[in-house]
């Protein structure tokens, strides 16, 4: 086929382009449409690919070229669109992938623990033995509020209050975990900062509350959710640190290529941490403030801790058959 000029070309081929464009309207994956449509799109796509080459030779104007370009790339995307990573594989994710990814990242998980719990211990001991220390770390109002909140044994909230607090914990804690992870892109520095910062704040509050006499109350309160919550925050930190390490230790790849190579494990840890925090938020909202006896709460806390350790340490060790 040869065309006398560009106008004749556009006039002759435009119906083909418009036919392809009309097949590509909407977001429905091509794979879910009738076979006749798929082969029609494939045929039109080949035609438009050829037109794209002719168009450049004939000297089509840039804006019209852009239109054909966009058409070609949309058709290519629709035809080659494979949807890997289906969401249906949650079971395998929970049973194997997440704990495996974390164990593989064990060294950085240790460092993340260190970065969180050392500042935690430092501010805890400071505020525990020195009543004035807490005021240097946190605003007085916050401290008074905290001391007030734990001055009495938890006596159970109304269902509504529990729901509110659960919602707040999801919003706040999962947000903290995501930020802690994401800032790891700054060569791990952001993650390190958030781990140290959150560790220090948590330690200061705990120490201050214990120092002002609410010790048993706060420890009973956090016994239930702390194993899930603190572990999950540290895991998100471990994922952030892994992102930082991938940028630094590239093993011959480009920095971004190295990060790309590690992305599955890193994402698995973040998603796993988020799910743990989701569970923790409901424990913290509904169980921790309940009027259940302290001994039961301690028992549940120890039970959950054991479960978390067993799960993260052993789930998915055996190869799937």
């Amino acid at each position: 086929m040869s065309f006398k000029n560009v106008d004749a070309f556009v006039q002759a081929r435009r119906p083909i382009w418009e036919a392809l464009a009309s097949e590509l309207v909407g977001d429905r994956p091509l794979a879910k449409r009738p076979a006749a449509v798929i082969s029609r799109v494939a045929r039109l796509y080949r035609e438009v690919c050829t037109d794209r080459m002719r168009a450049e030779r004939l000297g089509l104007n840039p804006s019209a070229l852009h239109y054909v370009d966009a058409l070609v790339s949309r058709a290519h995307a629709a035809l080659y669109d494979a949807r890997p990573e289906p969401l249906s594989n949650w079971r395998s994710f929970m049973v194997r992938e997440f704990p495996r990814a974390l164990r593989k990242n064990g060294a950085l998980f240790g460092i993340a623990c260190f970065l969180f719990f050392v500042p935690f211990a430092l501010t805890l001991s400071q505020t525990l033995f020195n009543p004035e220390a807490a005021a240097r770390i946190l605003p007085i109002e916050t401290l008074e509020q905290m001391a007030e909140a734990y001055s009495q044994e938890p006596s159970g909230r109304t269902g509504g209050e529990s729901a509110t607090m659960a919602g707040f914990y999801v919003y706040n804690n999962v947000g903290i975990a995501f930020r802690c992870f994401a800032t790891g892109i700054l060569f791990g520095l952001g993650t390190a900062f958030f781990l140290v910062y959150n560790g220090a704040i948590t330690g200061a509050i705990t120490g201050h509350v214990i120092q002002t006499g609410g010790g048993i109350n706060i420890l009973t309160f956090i016994a239930g959710h702390a194993p899930l919550e603190l572990t999950a925050i540290v895991i998100s930190g471990a994922a952030g640190l892994e992102m930082g390490r991938a940028l630094l230790v590239t093993e011959g790849r480009t920095r971004l290529g190295s990060l790309w190579h590690q992305r599955h494990g890193i994402l698995a840890q973040v998603v796993g941490a988020a799910l743990m925090l989701l569970a923790a938020a409901f424990v913290e909202g509904f169980w921790s403030p309940s009027s259940a006896p302290a001994r039961l709460k301690w028992g549940v806390g120890i039970g959950l801790m054991t479960l978390v350790v067993l799960y993260l340490g052993f789930a998915g060790r055996r190869k799937a058959r």
Binding site: G59, Y67, A82, T164, V170, F178, H261, L267
Partner: protein
């Protein structure tokens, strides 16, 4: 130390229409990708301005969703301030979380990389290899938002975008995604013969004393044709400015010293095409 094979980086040479292959540096925002079977894609990369506009639209929509939710909760609570304490408030906080972290993820993975704001501006997130983003890609690029928006107002993201030749923010770099602009069907010209007849320009310069079959090389004819098709998309002043670059040479060659630049090019084009 064990060295891994080089990564397929997706950094295809950047090319410009009708020009030589240029590696590394782009003079415009056209990204060219070539598949092994020699299908070439050209994408118009979306710049920070377009993306900011799309972000504003999304920001408004998110605000609207949350505002309506707050309003409904306030209605359910009976008054605006007093009884906002209970289950509905818990759900509201959950919604805040979902909208803050899940809005882009939800729309990008459901409607092929286009959140409502991006759709409004004809933008779309795609993978660097041209395929639609998957759930995992979208999750990664949107989690990294938390780093891009540091220290405030996306300063890190904007700086990264300006340093990168494909306008990628940190999230895009990590997830290997780009944001592209998909233009509407423009510049194809009128579609029917009647429309063409109606809109065809009749330049006043048809009376120019030019040969009926001007001698022009193939490349010159192509340039005239390209200009002819492009001129209607430009303002008259800009079209004349472009025409004036070539006009002096042509005036001298065809001995029409006073010819208007636009009329000259248009007439030459007509006489080469119709002959």
């Amino acid at each position: 130390m064990r060295r891994n094979p080089p990564e397929p980086s997706g950094n295809a040479p950047l090319r410009i229409y009708g020009a030589a292959v240029i590696y590394g540096a782009a003079l415009d925002t056209t990204l060219v990708l070539e598949t092994p079977e020699h299908v070439t894609f050209r994408y118009q990369l979306a710049g920070p301005g377009q993306r900011f506009a799309a972000y504003l639209v999304d920001f408004g929509i998110r605000g609207l969703i949350l505002g309506m939710a707050v309003f409904l909760v306030a209605l359910a609570g009976g008054s605006f301030f007093a009884d906002l304490w209970g289950l509905e408030l818990g759900i509201l906080l959950l919604l805040f979380f979902v909208v803050e972290w899940g809005y882009f993820l939800f729309f990008e993975s459901l409607s092929r990389g286009a959140s409502p704001g991006k759709r409004a501006l004809r933008l779309r997130v795609i993978r660097q290899d041209g395929l639609p983003v998957s759930f995992g890609d979208s999750l990664l690029r949107n989690l990294l938002r938390a780093a891009d928006l540091l220290p405030t107002f996306y300063v890190v993201g904007v700086i990264t975008m300006c340093l990168d030749d494909k306008f990628r923010r940190l999230g895009d770099l990590v997830a290997r995604t780009i944001v592209v602009f998909e233009p509407r069907a423009t510049g194809l010209g009128p579609s029917t013969k009647r429309e063409r007849a109606a809109t065809a320009p009749r330049p006043p310069g048809t009376a120019l004393p030019l040969p009926a079959r001007p001698m022009l090389s193939r490349r010159e004819r192509a340039a005239l044709a390209l200009f002819h098709r492009r001129a209607p998309e430009l303002s008259v002043a800009r079209a004349r400015e472009l025409a004036e670059i070539w006009a002096p040479t042509l005036r001298a060659r065809f001995d029409v010293p006073d010819a208007d630049a636009l009329a000259l090019l248009e007439t030459l084009h007509e006489r080469t095409v119709d002959s």
